[in-house]
């Protein structure tokens, strides 16, 4: 039985919508994340997929404590991270790091690469000056770059190399969890494979846990052990990746997978084209969020929200019709 590293329980994040310049009365809320629960096990890669507005990026920001939670709790190694402050907060930050999508804006343009990678260490007073330098060199080599690169500025590196630097920085404090938010989608196709292999190797070596946010279904399947599918602020299905792709139970997951581009022109797939657009998170449909576009719609879907239930071992679905 794997150990649970992170547990989210009924997490909600609502962004208030206000009217008026001075009084700023709240007239509504964007329900970006509206009650999700999931666990991430130590050493695994948990993928979160979904389309624009589903709340996956907000979820990652909540875990990184870049946004404050509206309600619910997130436990990390048993501790409630939504209530942390001071040294406890610093400790948490040391255990959870991130790599973002855009390699060009992820590195401070006016700092040398060595300084960028060393910053988490320096800020946490973890090592003395000489040790910091050695650690930076070690990290650069770990990500496949030359250690004398520490003297250069980010703009002297290519996109793929910059992403490696971002990975090196994320590893500086030996975190337990790294949030990867679209780590390869801004990179060239041939470079993506390099970076994905790097992430895989590092996980093999260090046992670090990944939370992977991505929209490319092939990338998510390749990298993840378990996957959660989100739609309009809710988790609609969670399963191991093989199981999810071979046996998707939720209609949205089925539509998503059928819409994925084929690997071969002869790849015959039942094409499910969803009608309409994703509704606004200001005013999500009542009951099951997906029901207006669902091809398996039943009347009760508009009335009550389906709970996330474990249909088979390790396979959770939130749907009235399965």
């Amino acid at each position: 039985m794997s150990e649970i590293l992170l547990e989210a329980m009924d997490v909600k994040k609502h962004f208030p919508v206000t009217k008026g310049l001075v009084l700023m009365k709240q007239v509504g809320a964007i329900k970006a994340v509206d009650g999700i629960s999931f666990t991430i096990n130590k050493g695994e890669t948990f993928g979160l997929v979904g389309e624009s507005g589903c709340g996956k990026t907000t979820t990652s920001r909540l875990i990184l404590l870049l946004e404050s939670i509206t309600s619910g709790t997130i436990f990390f190694n048993g501790k409630d991270i939504t209530q942390l402050s001071g040294t406890e907060l610093k400790k948490y930050r040391g255990s959870v790091q991130a790599v973002f999508q855009d390699p060009y804006s992820s590195l401070s343009p006016r700092m040398r690469v060595g300084g960028i990678i060393a910053e988490p260490i320096v800020v946490n007073h973890a090592l003395d000056k000489k040790a910091v330098k050695e650690r930076v060199a070690e990290l650069l080599e770990l990500v496949g770059l030359r250690s004398d690169g520490a003297e250069l500025y980010p703009h002297e590196f290519s996109g793929g190399q910059r992403q490696r630097i971002a990975v090196a920085r994320a590893l500086a404090l030996n975190p337990s969890l790294i949030v990867l938010d679209e780590p390869v989608s801004a990179l060239d196709v041939s470079i993506r494979a390099q970076v994905m292999n790097l992430l895989h190797d590092i996980q093999q070596k260090t046992g670090v846990t990944y939370l992977l946010i991505a929209h490319d279904l092939a990338v998510v399947k390749h990298m993840s052990n378990r996957i959660g599918v989100m739609y309009l602020g809710k988790l609609v299905e969670i399963a191991e990746s093989e199981e999810l792709y071979s046996n998707p139970l939720h209609p949205y997951t089925q539509a998503l997978l059928s819409a994925a581009l084929p690997s071969h022109p002869d790849d015959q797939r039942e094409e499910i084209i969803l009608p309409g657009e994703v509704p606004s998170p200001l005013n999500p449909p009542p009951g099951c969020r997906f029901h207006p576009r669902c091809f398996q719609y039943k009347p009760e879907c508009a009335e009550s929200e389906p709970p996330l239930i474990e249909i088979k071992s390790g396979h959770w679905v939130a749907c009235h019709t399965t």
Partner: protein, 326 residues
């Protein structure tokens, strides 16, 4: 060149003259496009696929960029020899283009209806009422519900998928013969992408439209393209019918690229990678551009650029390996 050929590009060369040297963005590109056919131009960033398209419709960034050689024969006439005024008659009317980011392609200050009407007003002599009829017709064509209402809206009031369809409506409003789509779905969600590609295919069947689709995604090629040209560092390295390319890729770059993609099927631990990085286009090595990264590079590859060889009917590529087999 048969009656069926709409576009023939011969040995097209577009260079950018910069302080750091001459960037050979497009260096001798040739291909043909039949009526009703979809050609995919595949490659990574910097390979020249977008510049090729801009060269075809003469929108290369002056003064740094210039088409320095070759021919672009459209409906029997070389577009490169035409005057600016003549080309303006062709753009929007006979050849249209849609780009990657719909938000960049639309003017935030004008209504959507206004923007779709613009090409119609420029190229067609219709009275006011007929123009708006046309706009409504185009919006329905791209599956925009309630077009009379939506055409009064502004781009920011619409979702990404809808905006891209508006861009499509603009591009198709004058019934062009050729539509160039530069990464048309990269900015769209997965399910919206499927909608949009299906739409393009439907429209193409209705009107015998030819398309050039520029992409880095082999999935799009598999879904919508009849034929494919793989580009690397300014040159086409392999051309084939889509099925043929997927079944029998022969150029080492094509093979390496396809192998490095994660697939939805069998799970592998590590992906095949291509060593190194794409070359700097102002500092190209002699011989084959791919030689520095090619796992099968031979001595001659570093000295001379390989001529075109035929793999099978309609399947060509440039590689010394094939020459050896012949």
């Amino acid at each position: 060149m048969t009656d069926e050929t709409l576009l023939e590009v011969k040995d097209l060369k577009t260079y950018f003259f910069t302080r750091r040297g001459t960037v050979k963005a497009v260096d001798g590109v040739s291909f043909q496009l039949k009526k009703g056919e979809t050609l995919g131009l595949v490659g990574e960033s910097g390979c020249g696929k977008s510049v090729t398209c801009f060269s075809v419709i003469r929108l290369v960034d002056k003064p740094a960029g210039r088409t320095v050689g070759g021919q672009v024969i459209f409906n029997g006439e070389d577009l490169l020899t035409k005057s600016e005024k003549e080309i303006q008659q062709i753009r929007g009317k006979h050849i249209s283009m849609i780009l990657q980011d719909p938000m960049m392609s639309l003017n935030p200050l004008f209504t959507v209806g206004n923007q779709v009407a613009e090409p119609v007003k420029i190229h067609q002599k219709l009275d006011k009422r007929m123009v708006w009829e046309k706009v409504k017709e185009m919006l329905s064509l791209v599956n925009i519900p309630s077009p009379e209402v939506r055409m009064k809206e502004y781009p920011h009031q619409m979702s990404g998928g809808m905006r891209q369809r508006i861009v499509g409506a603009m591009a198709l409003s004058c019934q062009p013969q050729l539509l160039i789509a530069d990464e048309p779905t990269t900015a769209l969600d997965v399910t919206i992408q499927a909608q949009f590609l299906r739409l393009l295919k439907d429209i193409q069947q209705q009107s015998n439209l030819s398309m050039i689709v520029v992409t880095h995604d082999f999935g799009i090629v598999a879904r919508v393209c009849d034929r494919v040209a793989v580009m690397y560092a300014g040159k086409i390295v392999e051309t084939a019918e889509t099925r043929d390319l997927f079944n029998n890729p022969t150029h080492p770059y094509t093979i390496a690229l396809m192998n490095s993609l994660p697939k939805m099927g069998a799970k592998v631990d590590r992906l095949y990678t291509i060593e190194g990085q794409p070359p700097e286009l102002q500092n190209l090595p002699p011989g084959c551009n791919f030689a520095p990264r090619c796992p099968e590079a031979m001595e001659i590859c570093r000295q001379e650029y390989p001529p075109q060889s035929m793999v099978t009917e309609e399947h060509y590529m440039n590689c010394w390996l094939a020459k050896g087999k012949e």
